[in-house]
Amino acid sequence: MTFTALWLRLELRRRWRSLVVLALLVALAGTAVLASVAGARRGDTAVDRLVARTSPADITVLPNQHGFDWDRIRALPEVEALTTFVISSFQIEGVPDNSTGFAVADDANMRTIERPIVLQGRLADQARDDEVVVSAHFPGAFHKGVGDYLTIRLFTPAQVDTYVTGADPGAPAGPSIRARIVGVVRSPWYHDNVRDQGSVAVSAALYLNHRANFVGSTDQIYLNALVRLKGGEKTIPEFRADLARVSGRTDIDIWDNAELERHATRVNTFEGDCLLGFAGAALIAALFLVGQSVLRYTSATVADLQTLRGVGLGNRQALAAASAGPVIAALLGSLLGAAGAVLVSRWMPIGAAALYEPSPGFDVDWLVLGAGLVLTPLLALAGSVASAWLALASAQNRTAPRRSAVAVATARAGLPVPVVVGTRFALEPGRGRTAVPVRPALLGAVIGVLGVLAAFTFAAAVADAAANPARFGQTHQLESFLGLNSTDFGKVDPVLARIAADPAVTAVNNARIAVAESGDTSITTYTVDPVGGKPLSVVTVSGRLPQAADQIMLAPTSARALHAEVGSWVTLTGAARARREFTVTGIGFVPEGSHNDYDAGAWATTDGYRALFGTTFKFHLAEIALRPGSVTAAMTQRLQHEAAPLTGGQSIGLQQVTAPQQLAEIQDVQTLPLFLGGFLLLLAAGAVGHALATAVRRRRHDVAVLRALGMTRRQSRLVVVVQATVLALVGLVFGIPLGLALGRTLWRQVADSTPLAYHPPLALLTLLLAGPVALLLANLLAAWPGHRAARLHVGQTLRAE
């Protein structure tokens, strides 16, 4: 121990710079790994932590019925809290409609239910209509934060009455209220989605003080509600039964908000997995880079200590002395790394999880940091002892070094000397003073190509999904809102027939939509009703569309909820307690609607729909598909013009189908694999560059001998070029198929969990460029070592050796 301490003192005095560099490397690697792991853990639990702190609604209940008696629902034994919101609109100057949110109709909101986290400022006084709060994205998107004012414009009661008929009410002509933003908040209901601009949450007083401006003169506007159940999600069946009992309706749509939270958690978990993948890559890079440094350090120390072995230094003493420096550096580095991870936590979690994080800002994950603080020095100790042991063993090793069959084959094939030697340098590690770690270089090259291929394959899949709404089942480009609550806005059939007759229209589906129930699951059911012999193309996962009244196709999430597959029988309850059994003929996507995602719902024939709902519907929509290449805006105008004579000159409502939210979520994570791919590429460049530089340095003797035998400078440079090329080729041969497979596997996981229709992605351009770029990069990396090999001073090198 005394000797180790004495040796360490000497080492600290003469090699402190090396130890400081080693400590900084450990710190950098520690920061990357610890911050990533802590960030992944934080993101993974963000939704749960937000839910635990905000008393969120378990369900959203949507009777869509004016005059619905919410007091009776509030009194049900399962209900812990309930707040209602108004299905009519108002406007805020400078803020688009999708950021204005709903007006709440009572002061339970943000008090007994959906009590948000206050990120900045305070909650609004629910008794004051001139106070609002906003979500986290809002200040950035609209440059208005706490203390700023917004102007709320309400419709007149007459305008609201117009709105009920489906007609355009025009600009709000009712009262204006100048409201102050008093806080920035977050809860499951008041959170931002990826790419959202944020939203405004008005106080209950806005509705309560200006009720007529929301419900109109005929009181036709209805209220829906957020409900928190005493028993949580698992008491939904009891609540559903009581709801049916007190309301007399079995077709009331109930959203299970936990399903939304689970979806968010799935997205966060995927992002967290990407982050963990990054942490893993960073760990590998750290083991490689720091390991190399430790190896170099201990090898040099062992070489020094060899002289003391002659005067009685034992193996254990040598190991302890050689390891002491790296362990001290690792201790210091791990402390700095932990501090760095805390600093980086300011930007964690990343992606969608950040939108649910209840405590943004700095965070200390004691478990991760503690593990890092303990494991890093232990890892350094193990690494330095192992490398010192190897260095000691290497000094006594007399076995022949490993030969590469490929290198031997190149020699046997009579290839030029630089090719033979370069191949040998790339594939044979050598021994003793000429030893070069070829396996990390080969592995690094493979991982680099693999990472880039996987990342770009994944990115190609995301780009494909972004360009093809059909991947999300959306095969139509336009939608026409034709009716609401069993009442059409006009004569529908001749209008749809005229639209279907347009040569640029490839499909029109006349969809009546209502919500059926099966147990505690709501199934938004669409009719398959082609117009003009132009059926809508439905994206199926398996099976086919229904063709008879007792057949149904379920969307994937609904099928999962009902534990159904093709051939299963399911029982659905429609309007007026009509119960019907259906055989599942297929699993496929449905149009995304206001009450359903594209992966939840069902397709039924018109007869099957009628058996459940009679002639009633919640919504009446037409899905319209256009010929590829059609300009949607121009087609909208043309179809409206064509339909105008049939609607008394009134334009029909046609709107462009928007991409599902899930697409934005996927696009949000698109950068992570690219980031990881870039990191792996850097790792590969580091590994290959290190191998080339080390080979030239450690094998300068061989190069010098060959130069003495007549090898030219150009041939010396060529040796390094061949070495780099061999490494790149190995990377390409193994990395391309593995990268393609990994990218597709990742995408399949995303496709299954999103869900969306899986199409094997192919990053063709990347595949075509991978070879030339990898070879170019390898040769660029070879430029400097090659130059050094060419400039080698043969006489001096051989003399020094």
Binding site: A400, R424, A704, V705, G710, M711
Partner: protein, 262 residues
């Protein structure tokens, strides 16, 4: 004709000195003061001669050998090998020149550690323009002649010191160079190994090979025709060795051989 035979084209050359150095100076930069390794050396070696260069450590012997081989350059003066100026040439020209004209034997062998004995000979053969098979054939012949025929597949590290040096000599002879340079070829060997190597050199010399050998040892130098003594970067004595057979060198010179056997 054996593997060590002199090629006909070399025999047909006009008689020119195998080595001619005129006023060679070489200074190395050092921390305290510049090291003057060569201070105006004049030196000539006739075709077929076996010359020993002797002198204490640091007298410039190895530098002299290196400038002849083109592994180092002179600051002043001229260096000719077989009538070709090698000073002032670029590295690639020198590399190509070495392939065919010069064989170099190092004190510490400088063999390629990771490749077999045979491949240590094949690589320079291929570099010298031979096909793979021809180089292998030449290598096997040389190994047989030098008593290493049963060691072709072995790595240099598994050979004894004497065997390694014989392998290094075989490598130097692969391309049938006109001039064989040897820097302390017995310095790293025990007496038995040293004797083996010296005997080999004598055989080569008898076959007409021009040899310049640097050595500390008077005993080793005694095997040469002529001993050149250096001190402080200068040639201080140049004469026949006491026991050295001068006839072979003279005969070779008379026959007009610029380069010896291979």
């Amino acid at each position: 004709m054996t593997a060590l035979d002199t090629p006909a084209e070399d025999l047909a050359r006009p008689a020119v000195p195998a080595v001619r150095i005129t006023g060679a100076r070489r200074v190395f930069a050092a921390e305290l003061a510049p090291v003057r390794a060569l201070r105006g050396v004049h030196f000539e070696v006739g075709p077929g001669e076996f010359v020993a260069v002797m002198g204490p450590s640091g007298c410039g012997k190895s530098t002299l050998l290196n400038v002849i081989a083109g592994l180092d350059t002179v600051d002043e003066g001229t260096v000719e090998v077989a009538g070709e100026r090698v000073d002032g040439r670029d590295q690639d020209w020198l590399a190509r020149f070495r392939r065919h004209r010069i064989g170099f034997v190092f004190q510490f062998f400088n063999l390629l550690d990771g490749v077999s004995a045979l491949d240590n000979l094949v690589l320079p053969g291929v570099l010298g323009g031979m096909g793979r098979r021809a180089a292998e054939s030449r290598g096997r012949d040389l190994l047989d002649i030098l008593g290493l025929g049963d060691r072709t597949a072995q790595l240099p590290s598994s050979l004894s010191g004497g065997q390694r040096q014989r392998l290094a000599i075989a490598r130097a002879l692969v391309n049938r160079p006109g001039l064989l340079l040897a820097d302390e070829p017995t310095g790293a060997l025990d007496s038995e190994g040293g004797a083996e190597v010296l005997e080999l050199f004598r055989r080569l010399h008898e076959d007409g090979q021009t040899i310049v050998m640097v050595t500390h040892s008077p005993e080793v130098a005694a095997g040469a025709d002529r001993a050149v003594r250096m001190r402080d970067g200068r040639v201080v004595d140049d004469g026949a060795t006491a026991t050295g057979p001068t006839a072979a060198g003279s005969d070779a010179a008379e026959s007009g051989a610029a380069g010896g056997p291979s």
